[in-house]
Symmetry: C2
Subunit: 492 residues, 2 copies
């Protein structure tokens, strides 16, 4: 028997439990059968425009009921969705569209400005506007009746230490195993309902979609994080689980004040970097069930999660791996770390990406004996609980978004007056961290903070633009001229 | 990443949730950590006797805490367990041990008689007696840290239309996907607890073991079906799920009378052939949550199950496939059946066996385009619910045990006075069905019912011995001389 074939997720779910609610969005709702029917229709429209199996197709949309339909329509056709972070600038998006050789761009009216700029730079790229799909002819789409778990489902770009973002390939199997691993850890009942106010273009949001269809579970989709509406839906939709990042959790805690969350609510799945200990302690005291997690785009969502029974005794730990996955700590000298010894975190499992789009070398660089090097620093305690001490060497996490210093530095270095640039994170009450830049100006030249900020604004998503620019004589570098980012703050 | 590798199930579970209870048995209990420690110790004893990775090892044991330890010890060593039905006669067991080329037999004192006979017939086969393990030297066992989902975990013999039993190979992946498919269908919470009073040598019992370790869920193991003890444990152990066959369900219903099952109990998973409709209706009226299922050794437990929301409206249906699996009906002319059309049931999925031990041809005979032919007859209604009309052509299901007419016939035909023999099922109030035999005696010979019964008793497990022998002139056969078993009863 071929163990890698499975019935098409959405079609199968629509067959198994057609009448269960799949999505609540504002005042609307769709059952799995309705979601399937609408996705088939949309797939037919896409096909009439030439969208075909195996293509890479850019998706630039906000969280919306239609976005879910678009994403499933692409799955039905066997198209690989290049899911674009809609906070990026046009030039960042263009770079990703070109890098993935996208055959189409699917977007919406509210991004008309960006769309114009994209069309300007890639005139050959056909664009499909969400609001204009109705007017397109409808073909009977060629549905993928069975999917191969090894096939690529989605591409999400992340940067890293090298500056330019790389497209992480997430297979159907990656998403499947992530969902199953999470279900085995958190449990799952037919009264579960997952609230999604994180972006669908992030793995944190997209993975909720996949769980919905694999578990047969409704999700409550929000366009953005609005704490009042969220607490309202906790009650009216009987939400049981929500994915949050630290800043969201803080705002929820502030908002409810003396109130309690409803009894039915059972899990606050906390990702996007380590949360401050006082926040966690406060949640324990208030009976808010927080499950700390550790994961990344390359692991298709959480790979390590703190189980319910340890939420108090192991406060601050990210927990243990999901059942199908494994974690280990390696020392610089290649030895495996002992209990309590700090080193680099390596992971392994069927939810780990097979690699980066068109960059086989980049994956080889990060893989040792089948283990994936996260670049993050941590240790396992005497019972095997993971403690993450420091994210990917220089990664800054700002309001749940990953910000890579190297990417910002390469923009700054492209400024004609900048001789050298280094970026690092600074603590921030609202966002956890924000990027700040250290600049060496070319000799006999003057340039203002404002000018650099504008320069960045044009080229980088807002959350990546440094909140401060400090002018310095030189940057700390080691013997082999590698920038020592951690020394930036110390030395200046 | 290698998607077929997973951490050793028991070792991983012991790492993830060491302190959860794994098994209750009589007045004892073991946590996952304790179960792992004991299994490692037993694995060390086995290894000291020459038990090695990749061997086939016969297991002839009753339901007992030690049996669970033995079965997991074999998993830790990467040994393939040939799990023997302990109701079989010595000659049946010997046949399976020879067929699988078993390197060892693990058994217990209570089967001393059988063990003597086996040793007589296979003097080269080393035997390990459960009660004597303590006296064996202990080695540090070579634990399989990772398992390959494609590796064979267990062998269970089933017969079929051909007479001699065949060893069904069940891989780790088969068991894994079966467990996951069931969890996605039934849901799973950390208050779940599964009662196992079905034999561990059947897939119905062994699959509960696998779910226990994959979910991190306690099981309550019973040596046999004792309705009073079972209801007692429903309360004292807060059992939520139990696997039953029709005859067990009847006795539970009779026993509780006017009482209700405890609120915490949520699922009576009913396998082993279709249950009588009045029993199901009675359970609905009494709020006993019965989930009808359809499955076989070759699908590593249920592959089709009736979901909670349809237990009333689709009473009598076996339901829909588990998420990773598929079912379809094929007509004799090779066409796929329409809604409501009756034909042969075919199944597909990662829980379906890769084949029969040393009999690649037998699997090819039952596979078409990747679909496995069950031999059973049924139809799908307009919503895709499966109705099983008739089990595998001639299969008799007696008290949950599969009885294959061809196997009994071949024993009868080996009697020197029997010229022809045909076996079919007869309704039975207690067992659902029992086998009865139709015999054509050689000319001018007299033989008594008693003599034939004794002859069978020596060669067949008790539940296979015909409950009646009818002497006839000839048997109904078609033009190509194939026995028409269904006509046996009608014509006589």
């Amino acid at each position: 028997m071929q163990n890698d074939l499975m019935p098409n997720f959405l079609k199968n779910r629509s067959y198994l439990t057609p009448n269960r609610v799949a999505v609540y969005f504002n005042n609307r709702q769709l059952t799995f059968h309705e979601l399937y029917e609408r996705s088939v229709e949309t797939a037919g429209k896409f096909q009439s425009q030439g969208v075909r199996r195996g293509q890479y197709v850019g998706v630039l949309l906000k969280n919306h009921l239609d976005t879910i339909v678009v994403l499933f329509a692409l799955q039905l056709l066997g198209v690989r969705a290049v899911i674009l972070n809609n906070r990026l600038t046009s030039s960042e998006i263009i770079w990703q569209l070109k890098d993935s050789q996208a055959a189409f761009l699917i977007t919406e009216k509210s991004f008309a400005d960006k769309e114009l700029e994209i069309r300007d730079m890639i005139p050959t790229l056909p664009t499909l506007i969400k609001e204009q799909l109705d007017s397109l002819p409808m073909e009977t789409p060629d549905i993928e009746e069975e999917i191969n778990l090894g096939d690529v489902c989605t591409i999400m770009y992340t940067s890293g230490t090298t500056g330019k973002p790389k497209g992480v390939m997430q297979t159907y199997g990656n998403h499947w195993w992530s969902s199953v691993g999470s279900a085995l850890n958190l449990g799952f009942t037919d009264s579960d309902c997952w609230l999604c106010s994180v972006p669908l273009f992030h793995i944190s949001g997209y993975s909720i979609l996949m769980r919905s269809v694999i578990y047969g579970m409704p999700i409550v989709l929000h366009e953005s994080f609005d704490v009042e509406k969220i607490i309202e839906d906790f009650h009216s939709k009987r939400v049981t689980i929500m994915s949050v990042v630290g800043t969201m959790l803080t705002r929820i805690v502030d908002f409810i004040g003396e109130e309690q969350l409803p009894q039915s609510f059972r899990c606050m799945l906390l990702g996007g970097g380590p949360a401050p200990l006082p926040l966690l302690q406060f949640c324990v005291a208030k009976d808010i069930p927080v499950f700390q997690t550790y994961g990344m785009t390359e692991t298709s969502s959480q790979i390590v999660t703190l189980s319910p029974e340890y939420s108090i005794s192991k406060l601050g730990s990210a927990g243990k791996p999901l059942f199908p996955s494994q974690v280990r700590i390696m020392l610089d000298d290649g030895r495996r770390a002992q209990e309590g010894e700090t080193g680099e975190i390596f992971v392994k499992g069927p939810n780990v990406t097979p690699g980066y789009l068109n960059r086989p070398g980049a994956m080889l660089d990060r893989t040792k004996d089948g283990w994936f090097s996260t670049g993050d620093i941590g240790y396992l305690d005497d019972e095997g609980f993971l403690y993450v001490l420091d994210r990917r060497s220089d990664l800054i996490i700002s309001g749940g978004e990953n910000v890579y210093p190297a990417e910002i530095e390469s923009v700054l270095l492209s400024h004609p007056f900048v001789k050298d640039a280094g970026v690092t994170g600074q603590e921030d009450e609202r966002w956890g961290q924000v990027p700040i830049a250290f600049i060496v100006i070319k000799e006999r030249i003057a340039v203002s903070r404002n000018e650099l900020e504008l320069f960045c604004m044009e080229r980088l998503a807002k959350y990546k633009v440094p909140k401060d620019f400090k002018f310095v004589e030189e940057l700390p570098r080691n013997a082999s001229n590698k920038l020592l980012r951690r020394k930036l703050k110390g030395e200046h």
